[in-house]
Symmetry: C2
Subunit: 309 residues, 2 copies
């Protein structure tokens, strides 16, 4: 990858995503210096123990001084606060990007505060696991995964190309779309699945007729799949729900409508309707595997890893 390395990358936020970027930047030599910044002193200390950067500060304002690339990796609800803190300290020509799961809201929160002499390019790497914090990150997280840019109309082509090169160096495939469309796509492929997973795990937790130990003991029959998404970072997902409200509510309405149809088919014993739905969903799984977006082994390959007792 013939990418021109950055002089100083400032990472605002050093959780799963930020710390994975840090590890890759170091490994691949994508910057001369890495500045790590996070509000929490304890997290910052941990980042230092993990040797994720060259400089460490709890001040986002300090962190961006002299940086030519700033990557904001915080829960989307904190975007405006970060923009306000860093704006006065950004030098001309700096690329400012983020990794937030919602884009229209992040743009609305950040753009008005950022000086016109920086290149603000909103981004979203579609990568992660259910773990969070600086220990959860790892080199290679972005390999083969998509990173979506939602550039603003007046975005500098050169800056865009440079940031694209950066993500491609991390192994990502880069796509571009407008922020509203991004938010709609993510509402169905990511936000709705997480919300539904949280909800079903909550429902199971509340049951009186089935004990929690039974739910846990017998979870391998389907339920456990949902618990992974439902173990994701609560702050991040609270913010996603609050900041992509309209698209999420639209998808929830469609989901509930479809579920009511399915529920009615069960109540009235309409086997044909059930069979029709249960058949057509199989093809989507096949397409996802063919597109290289999931592993081509039964049960996510768990049997290869499962403790056989």
């Amino acid at each position: 990858m013939s990418i021109q390395p950055f002089k100083r990358i400032a990472l605002i936020g050093i959780g799963l995503i930020g710390s994975s970027i840090a590890r890759d930047v170091r490994k691949l030599g994508l910057a001369s210096e890495i500045v790590v910044s996070t509000r929490s002193a304890a997290t910052l200390e941990r980042a230092e123990e993990l040797r994720l950067g060259d400089f460490y500060t709890t001040s986002a304002a300090e962190a961006v001084k002299g940086a030519d690339l700033v990557i904001v990796s915080v829960p989307v609800g904190a975007s405006e606060s970060v923009a306000l803190q860093i704006a006065p300290h950004l030098r001309p020509g700096t690329i400012v990007t983020d990794v937030g799961s919602t884009k229209a809201s992040v743009i609305a929160q950040m753009q008005p505060h950022l000086p016109s002499h920086v290149h603000f390019i909103p981004g979203h790497p579609l990568a992660g696991t259910e773990k969070s914090g600086p220990d959860a990150g790892f080199s290679g997280l972005f390999k083969g995964r998509w990173c979506i840019f939602t550039p603003l109309p007046d975005t500098d082509a050169e800056a865009l190309a440079r940031l694209r090169g950066f993500w491609e160096a991390l192994g990502s495939r880069v796509d571009e779309m407008d922020p509203q469309h991004h938010d709609k796509v993510l509402a169905i492929v990511s936000h709705l699945p997480h919300i539904i997973a949280y909800n079903i795990v909550g429902t199971a937790d509340d049951l009186q007729t089935v004990t929690e130990s039974e739910v846990i003991q017998y979870s391998a029959s389907g339920f456990r799949d949902f618990t992974r998404l439902a173990a994701s970072d609560p702050t991040m997902w609270r913010d996603v729900c609050l900041h992509n409200k309209d698209a999420i509510l639209e998808m929830l309405a469609r989901f509930s409508e479809d579920l009511a149809y399915l529920q009615r088919a069960i109540r009235w014993g309409e086997g044909d309707k059930l069979y029709e739905l249960f058949s057509r969903t199989r093809a989507i799984r096949r397409s996802i595997v063919e597109a290289g977006q999931d592993v081509d082994v039964p049960d996510f390959g768990r049997h290869a890893l499962d403790k056989k007792e």
Copy 2:
């Protein structure tokens, strides 16, 4: 395992479960002879190519002649038909069991037709993958997984102990409960998750504003987890829905109620309520991993298997 081997095991149905049993029985020497039976001539031929048994027949009636263990592994809706076919040909003392995902219905379908001189012990191994058919089975599928018996009040203790020994030899942990409770537990840990997964994949498939190729391309951000369960056998799941209707409708009602609460919290921007739910679900995941019911690696260990492009 000091289990007394069976003389002749008749497997009625040779899909994922039946063929996995066949492979283990052979490997572990749990029977002198294996008779494989399935309605479909093509499936039977495939089973023979895979050398899953010693005798092959499309007639369930033929299959059970001389068997001292009969394992019915068919979609639960076919249980009564199988019982009617095999009943006249079962010899005294034979153990008849099944692997169906619903138990009250299977008992209602089979028990009235089976002669009193056999030991009918309804069972349900909680194991499987999203694949189906004789090629999908494998030796070791039941290792570390639970098998639930729902014995009838007058069940012979010796026959029960023998069947327990059989499943334990396959690596299963055996539990007992009454059929109604089984159906309620499975409705929440298995049936609801599958129905919800089918539903969300259907909703995504129907969208006009987001293309199917986008859904597939960006599925790694959460959606793909659901596609695995939604790729399960449609006939099996149609029958589960039709034969555990009451418990499933109860769980669906609770799920929808909880979802309405969550939806309202999103609409009104009630971050505290969202955070509260999103926090408490994390503990369940941890318990499942601690109980050995899921792998202890992020993202189900996919990153170890993922094609890194």
